[in-house]
Symmetry: C2
Subunit: 119 residues, 2 copies
DNA sequence: TTGTCATGCCTCAAGCCTTGAGGTATACCC
DNA sequence: GGGTATACCTCAAGGCTTGAGGCATGACAA
């Protein structure tokens, strides 16, 4: 879809889902997540920190993530992992993602049956 | 992703792509499109007129659609169909959609290889 | 010592999109 | 006359990613 500066096509909600997915497997901190998402998507996605951090904060305030401070060589990291509710939410997101993919594929291929000549 | 009132997850840019797809096959008017999208997606999507009409106007002003007035039983309809540039744009959109689907599926399944222990 | 780079956290304005409700007008039927 | 379906349109609200920016530490070279 051309070069949209913001609100890029098809990416709405993807960061949140991938964050929940990665943090369901193991704990990570924000800066690490930013790069893990890039790696996990084979460089297709490159969500910046300005995208990731707000999502982490929101998900934690919703009880879908929990955090812990970790000191590594004098530096403080905030490590997040998914709560049971977070994993449940992930399952829901994946489900609705798959329904969207199915519906789009269907509309893109045949589509439009069931109403022979609406006009 | 819960019950978001606006900007629903995963739907960003989908209406535009489906509109281009349907209008690449045959000409339609706005009111008809609203229902054709619902049908083509097996009731998964139900984009309202407040979503469809602005997209039609924008795509026409971008030269991706062209319109013609049609009189049917005393009523005026504005019928749209895709221009060659519109079809090219559709091909692009479908391509980037498929890349997104591939990347998400990859990240959702295995993901995260290629960096064994970033921490 | 100074400079620079990577790490690590964070915030903010801008820009775009869908939603949902609302408004107008004609045609048809009872 | 009233109700419904058709057909067009507009608008505020809410939500999301982008891209840039700000802080602070540690390591490493010049």
């Amino acid at each position: 879809m051309g070069e949209r500066k913001s609100n890029p096509a098809f990416l709405n909600g993807i960061p949140e889902m991938l964050i929940l997915q990665l943090l369901s497997r193991r704990a990570m901190y924000g800066y690490e997540l930013v790069q893990a998402i890039t790696a996990a998507s084979r460089e297709e996605f490159e969500f910046g920190e300005g995208c990731v951090y707000p999502i982490l904060h929101r998900l934690e305030s919703q009880g879908l993530l929990k955090s812990a401070k970790e000191s590594v060589s004098g530096r403080v990291r905030v490590v997040y992992c998914a709560t049971p509710r977070g994993k449940a939410q992930l399952a829901q997101s994946v489900g609705s993602w798959q329904r969207v993919v199915t519906a789009v594929n269907h509309a893109l291929q045949g589509g439009e049956r069931g109403r022979p000549g609406l006009a």
